[in-house]
Symmetry: C3
Subunit: 266 residues, 3 copies
C-alpha cells in the first residue's frame, strides 16, 4: 500500500536539488513547480559543466522537447554521471516518435539507464518501439493501449515507466498502479507534463540504485493530479488555472494528499 | 464581408498542429495562447529535424526575436518545406531593423515565401526598406505611416501583410482592412505580438497556396484584440491582465466574436 | 539621503532600453518585470549582433544562469561595448561558485567592468573568492556573512555590489546601505533575482562613468521589495503572488515608494 503523503513529507523535508536539462518552453514552469512543491531547481545544460553539476545534484530530469546536438551532449554527460553514481534521473521523451533525430536521441538516452521514464501514451509507445499515432506532444493514443508498451519498456530497461493521461499508469517491475487524480484543464497549459517529470525526479531523489522507485513516482503523480483538481475548481480558464495550480502545489498538505489521492493497484 | 466567427469555428474544429520556431522569451506564452485558443502547438527548431517536422505540421510560424545561426538554419529549412508543400507559414520579423544581421536574416526569410507577415509599424517599414525609428520591438512609428510600406511589401512578396498597433492594418493584394479591437495593456506584457503571429498561423492553417489568407488573418487579429479588451476590463495590472487574457482566448465564443469584432475595409 | 522615488520617476520618464543577455528560465519574467515597471526590454544574445545592439541600448544586464560558449561570446562583446562607451551594465553571477566553468566565466566578465554586480550571498562570496556553501542559486549563506566579501569585491572592481536576501546590502565605494523591503514569498518564484538585476540596469541607465550608481541601485531594490510586500499581502501562494507582483510593479507610485522604502545607511 502506497502512502503518497509520506513521500511528500520526505521530499519537502529534504528539499532535493533537482538538476534539469529541459526545453525552452518548460524551464520557467518547471522551476516554479519545483519551488512551489518544496524542491530546489537548477537548470544547467552546457557540456562544459553539466557533468560537474550533476555530481552535486540529488536527482536529474532530462527532457528532449527542444533538443539540439549541444544540449544532447550535456544530457548524456549528466545522465552518465547520475547512473554511475547510483543517483536517479528521469527521462521525459517529448514527442519522441515525431522525427528520426528524436527517435535516435531517445534511444541513446534510454541506454544510459534512467530510473524513471515519464511520457504520454504516444511517447511511451514510440520509445518501446510500438506503433503510435504521435502528433506533437499530444496524447493521441489511449493510456490503456500503452500499458503493454509500458510493461515491455519497464522490463527491457529496468526503469519505472509512467504513462500519464486521463488515468495514469505506472509500472515498476511486477508491480503496477493506476492514478486517477487530475483534470482535463491540465492539457490546456503547456509544459505541465514536462514539469511533472521534474517533480518525479524530486520525489525519487535520494533513492539508491535498486530501491523501488515506483511508489515515489505514484506519489508524485497523485500529488500533481490533486493539485490539478483543486486548481480547476473555480478557475475561469487555463490562465487562472495555471496560477491556481502553482498555489495548490504549495498549499497541499500531506493530510490533503492522503485524503485526496486516488491510487489503485493495476 | 469577413465573418471572423466562421474562421474561429474552423480553427477550433480542426485544431491545427502549428509548428513554431520562435524566440526564448515568447515560447511559453505562444504555446499557451495556441492551446487556450484551440490549436495544437509544437516547438522544434534544430536543423536535424525542423524540416521533417514541418512536413507533418499544418502551419508554421517563424520568429526572429532571439535568433542565432543554428536557429536560422532550422527556420530556413522548415519554411522551405512549407512553401514547397503549399502550406502556409507566418514570418514575425522582430526588431528586424535593429541590426545588420537581423536585416540580412529578415531578407533571407522573406525570399522563402511567407504566406503572412506580421509585425509592428517599425518592423514592417524596415522589412519593406522604408526608413524607421525602430527601438527594440516597440512600435515607434504610427501604424498609419506604415500602411504604404505594408502595401508595397504585400505587392513585392505576394504575402498578406499585417501591421499591428492601436489599430491594425491588413493588406492582401488589392484588399485591405483595419481592425480596431485591442487594449493598450497588451503592450505591457511581453511576447503577445509573437504569440499573435503563431495564432495567425493557426487561423490560416490548411489554406492552399493561392487561397486568400487576408480574411483569416483579420479574424485572428479581431479575436486576439477582443480577448485583450475583455481581459483588460477588471485587470489590476499587466500581471492579472496576462492571466485573464489566456482565460478569454479560451472563453470567447463565435457569437462573442461576431458581436465584438471591429473590422472595416480600408 | 537616498530618495528612491526620484529614481523611480527618472526611470519611468526615460523608459530606458535595457539590453539583456539572460538565461532561458528568466527571460520572459525579466521582460515582464521591465515592462511593468516602465522600462523597455530587449533580449539579443548572438555574437553576430550583440555588440551592435548594445551600442543603441541605454543599459545592459548580463546573467550567466544557463550559460554556454556562444552566449558567453555575446555577453563579452556587449559588455565591452558598454564599458567602452561609458554606459552601465549589471552582472548577475548566477550560481557562480557551482562549477569551474562558471567560476572562469564569472571572472572573465568581472574583468570587463560591470557598473553593478547583484547576487545572493553565496554568489557574491564566490565571486570575491571567499568560501561559500553555494547550492544552485539559493542563498545558502547569510547576507551578513557576505558583507565583507561585498566590500572587498567593490574595492577590487570599482563596481557597486548588491547582496540581496532577507535584508539587502549595497556597497558603493565607502558608502553602504541596507534595504529591508521584501517578502519570503519572493524566494518561491523563479527568476525574480535575475529580473531584479535587469531592473537595476534600468535604474542606472543613462548614468555616466564615474557617477555613483549606489543610490539608483538601492532605489531599485527598495521598489522591488516593496512590490513583493504588497503582492504577498493577500496572495494564496507563489502562483498568485507572481501575478500580483507584476501588477504591483506597475501600480506603485513614487509616493508609495517614498512612504514604503526601508533604507538605512550601513
Amino acid at each position: 500500500m502506497i502512502d503518497p503523503a509520506a513521500h511528500l513529507i520526505h521530499m519537502r523535508a529534504t528539499a532535493p536539488l533537482v538538476h534539469n536539462i529541459a526545453n525552452y518552453v518548460s524551464m520557467n514552469v518547471m522551476a516554479n513547480v519545483l519551488l512551489a512543491a518544496g524542491a530546489s531547481p537548477a537548470m544547467i545544460h552546457a557540456r562544459e559543466e553539466a557533468a560537474e553539476f550533476a555530481a552535486i545534484a540529488h536527482a536529474l530530469s532530462v527532457n528532449i522537447g527542444t533538443l539540439s546536438p549541444p544540449w544532447v551532449e550535456g544530457m548524456a554527460e549528466a545522465a552518465s554521471v547520475m547512473t554511475a553514481a547510483g543517483k536517479p534521473w528521469v527521462l521525459d521523451p517529448v514527442a519522441v516518435g515525431a522525427t528520426a533525430y528524436r527517435r535516435r536521441v531517445g534511444a541513446d538516452l534510454l541506454a544510459l539507464g534512467p530510473r524513471v521514464i515519464r511520457g504520454n501514451a504516444s511517447e511511451i509507445m514510440a520509445l518501446a518501439g510500438a506503433t503510435s499515432a504521435g502528433k506533437g506532444a499530444d496524447a493521441a493514443d489511449e493510456v490503456a493501449a500503452a500499458e503493454n508498451a509500458a510493461r515491455a519498456l519497464a522490463r527491457s530497461t529496468g526503469a519505472v515507466v509512467a504513462v500519464t493521461g486521463p488515468v495514469d499508469f505506472v509500472v515498476d517491475g511486477d508491480a503496477a498502479w493506476r492514478v486517477s487524480n487530475g483534470d482535463p484543464m491540465m492539457t490546456k497549459v503547456t509544459a505541465l507534463g514536462c514539469a511533472l517529470s521534474a517533480l518525479v525526479a524530486a520525489f525519487v531523489a535520494g533513492q539508491a540504485a535498486g530501491e523501488a522507485a515506483g511508489p515515489a513516482t505514484v506519489a508524485a503523480l497523485a500529488f500533481y493530479g490533486l493539485a490539478g483538481e483543486r486548481a480547476a475548481a473555480g478557475a475561469a480558464g487555463p490562465g487562472s488555472f495555471a496560477v491556481r495550480f502553482i498555489d495548490e502545489l504549495h498549499a497541499i498538505t500531506p493530510a490533503d494528499l492522503r485524503a485526496g489521492a486516488r491510487v489503485a493497484a493495476a
